[in-house]
């Protein structure tokens, strides 16, 4: 009797462990097999992308494409923006589940993944890309990525508040103009029904370290991300202006700024009309739209950040690139390129890009299509007329914009260090990273 029980026990233990083991080792390799192509006539393309905001719309685009091309099967995986994506992408590479199409942010991650990046120079999309948008992914004439879209930023303002205060936004060109306008707004706070002229989210290191700083750093790197990427140092040639602009936003903001975050800035304060201006870009449109569609559509305008010598220009750049994994089999690479081409150059794809994704296109051939939201439209106009400043912050050393510059700015706002020390600390960190 006892022996029997033991036998049963052993049998079930064995069974349990084999089931558990086989469960984890075989589940993923199935996909791998069909992906390799060879025997099956259907090509599977795995896409790993980061833009959560357009996940549903992108999947819709994919299923439209699959209907037209029945021999291609596309799987989309989306993992949230910023750090999370980089983390997840790295994990999937080191675990051997390499996606066929994925995203890279700029020159730093191009370098990191270079041995995986296929040359996309022969794609139609690469040919149609607007001038300058390929700078970050051009390696010795090989185009390693295709731009997602363009993004731009500046000071978004509440048209109604400005009108009530009697300020003409188009007259704001220089820092003096802006300062004057802010003071007017501040003195009329109560009658305008706002709490402060600005909502400045000093808790978000990227708002200061990436975007604010970029406006004043672009000039010293010739508005070119690659110049920044190759530079051994940063000099803060326009440091005084950066300082002044930071102070202006911080002093005339809802306090305390150090615990004010992005969602409070955009949702609670700007969308609900509690402040007159915020420093943000076209990516906030959907958020404002979800809070107050009418406000989003009719009441949001854009003022360029005042930079001496660049009055009336706004920073426009490519936030992310599509890349194709060249370690995938040839027909997968081919199918991937075809898909990307279709997305940006076919009529149907283009319609998705502007109407559903609400992108500011980084490609030619969109002249007669309407751009969905007013902020993007305004930015596209600036870009079309060449009134732009470069996006150079993606050429900074890894983590520098946020962890070094952004942190130092927070220390400055807290009153722990002077502005000179901010510049000194940031410069030292840049130099030591580039040694």
């Amino acid at each position: 009797m006892k022996k029997n029980k033991l036998g049963l026990g052993i049998a079930s233990a064995l069974l349990a462990s084999t089931v558990a083991l086989s469960g984890c080792s075989f589940s993923s390799s199935d996909e791998g097999d069909s992906e390799a192509g060879g025997s099956s006539d259907k090509v599977t393309v795995d896409i790993f992308q980061f833009k959560v905001e357009f996940k549903d719309q992108f999947e819709e685009l994919v299923s439209t494409y699959e209907k037209e091309n029945p021999d291609v099967d596309i799987n989309v995986k989306t993992v949230g923006g910023g750090n999370d994506y980089g983390q997840a992408l790295k994990t999937s590479f080191s675990s051997g589940e390499e996606p066929d199409i994925f995203n890279v942010g700029g020159p730093t991650s191009v370098d990191e993944y270079e041995k995986y990046l296929a040359d996309l120079s022969d794609t139609k999309a690469a040919g149609a890309a607007l001038e300058g948008t390929l700078a970050g992914v051009d390696r010795d004439g090989k185009i390693l990525g295709l731009p997602f879209n363009q993004e731009g930023y500046g000071l978004l303002y509440n048209k109604k508040v400005f009108k009530d205060a009697g300020i003409d936004p188009s007259s704001i060109k220089t820092m003096d103009d802006l300062e004057k306008a802010v003071k007017t707004l501040d003195s009329k706070k109560d009658e305008l029904g706002i709490k402060a002229p600005f909502a400045f989210p000093a808790k978000e290191k990227w708002v200061m370290g990436n975007h604010l700083a970029n406006a004043y750093l672009a000039d010293e790197f010739d508005n070119d991300v690659m110049t920044a990427y190759k530079s051994d140092t940063v000099k803060f040639e326009m440091g005084d202006q950066m300082h002044r602009f930071l102070d202006l936003q911080n002093d005339y903001s809802i306090q305390p700024t150090l615990s004010l975050d992005y969602s409070q800035q955009v949702e609670e304060n700007f969308s609900l009309g509690k402040v007159a201006m915020i420093q943000q870009g076209n990516w906030v449109y959907n958020t404002i739209d979800s809070m107050d569609p009418d406000f989003a559509k009719n009441n949001v305008g854009l003022i360029p950040i005042p930079v001496k010598g660049y009055e009336g220009k706004i920073p426009v750049g490519v936030p992310n690139y599509w890349v194709v994994n060249k370690q995938s089999s040839d027909d997968v690479v081919k199918a991937s390129k075809e898909f990307l081409d279709w997305m940006y150059t076919s009529d149907e794809g283009k319609k998705f890009v502007t109407e559903e994704f609400k992108f500011i296109p980084a490609y030619e051939g969109y002249e007669d299509l309407e751009i969905a939201d007013p902020i993007s439209q305004e930015i596209y106009n600036y870009a079309k007329d060449g009134n732009t400043l470069g996006w150079v912050f993606m050429g900074a050393p890894n983590g520098w914009t946020e962890n070094d510059l952004g942190t130092a700015m927070q220390q400055y706002i807290a009153g722990d260090i002077s502005w000179d020390e901010v510049e000194k600390k940031a410069t030292e960190a840049w130099e030591s990273a580039r040694q």
């Binding site: 462990s17 558990a20 083991l21 750090n83 790295k90 990191e112 808790k203 409070q264 807290a414």
Partner: protein, 286 residues
């Protein structure tokens, strides 16, 4: 011990396999990578102890360790006092015993991330509104300075974990033989004396357990830190776990982060083992 049968090892196989797959092997891998320049995709160079030497000169890492140590000391003391206090409260014969136990335990069921966001709302909006109404300036901007950020984290953790620690103390309190208490009563001991000489020594094993739990928890805290302050302002409320994640994923310095993690592991292991050793010595047997 020696004549374990074949069946014994067979039954143990799944556990050993699982443990080595998800704990031991990755740990050895990690140890190896901490000596290289691994960037998450490939390691090209063997650096020896370079990463380790570098980290002892890095202010940010040292600051985060110091911050974590301070946090651990405060929370361990606070949590054990609160846990024991709550346990004493709910082991008395009051009617709402069970309800109270549930209520005290409940915060522990909410995930750390959500808790962080809830308390962020309380510290920023609720405290701010109260400050505006009452004019107490001290309530404004709780998460915008290092000091108040620290206490914010302590309050959050105490609120979350006190109920859990309470459960452990309840278990031990209820195991104390009624006769001992009664005997002490007959001998004329007052309630404070009874607590000091009878109850307290007998719950010493609970101290060992809950001190270990609170200590290791306080050191490893991450999600509450991330959602409440995100290390801000200027990384001054950043705990070790968060600093390591940041080094790995935003500075993209995987091997260096791994070296930090190894040092972190050693610190926690040494502290926890010492604590258990000394607490064990203090326990009394019945």
């Amino acid at each position: 011990m020696r004549n374990r049968s074949f069946a014994f090892w067979l039954f143990l196989t799944p556990v050993i396999l699982g443990l080595s797959l998800v704990v031991i092997i990755p740990f050895i891998y990690g140890l190896f990578y901490s000596f290289t320049d691994w960037n998450g995709l490939s390691a090209t160079q063997f650096l020896g102890f370079e990463n380790y030497i570098k980290l002892f000169h890095e202010n940010e890492f040292m600051d985060s360790i110091w911050f974590t140590v301070k946090f651990a000391v405060v929370t361990v003391i606070l949590l054990n006092i609160m846990g024991l206090g709550l346990a004493l409260l709910v082991t008395r014969n009051i009617k709402s015993n069970n309800l109270l136990r549930t209520v005290f335990f409940m915060p522990n069921l909410i995930g750390g991330l959500i808790l962080g966001f809830i308390w962020q709302f309380i510290f920023i909006s609720v405290f701010g509104d109260v400050a505006n109404l009452t004019g107490i300036e001290g309530l404004n901007g709780w998460l915008s300075t290092t000091n108040t950020g620290f206490w914010g984290l302590v309050i959050l953790t105490a609120w979350q974990m006190a109920g859990y620690i309470m459960i452990i103390y309840i278990a031990y309190l209820e195991n104390i033989p009624k006769e001992l208490i009664e005997a002490a009563k007959i001998d004329g001991a007052g309630s404070f004396q009874r607590f000091k000489t009878v109850t307290f020594p007998l719950v010493a094993p609970a101290f060992t357990v809950s001190m270990f739990l609170t200590l290791s928890m306080a050191f490893k805290i991450y999600d509450q830190n991330l959602s409440l302050t995100n290390g801000g302002p200027y990384n001054s409320t950043q705990m070790v776990a968060m600093e390591i994640v940041k080094t790995a994923f935003s500075d993209n310095d995987m091997a260096y982060a791994q070296a930090k993690a190894v040092i972190f592991f050693l610190i926690v292991a040494v502290i926890a083992l010492t604590q258990v050793y000394y607490n064990k010595k203090r326990e009394v047997d019945l």
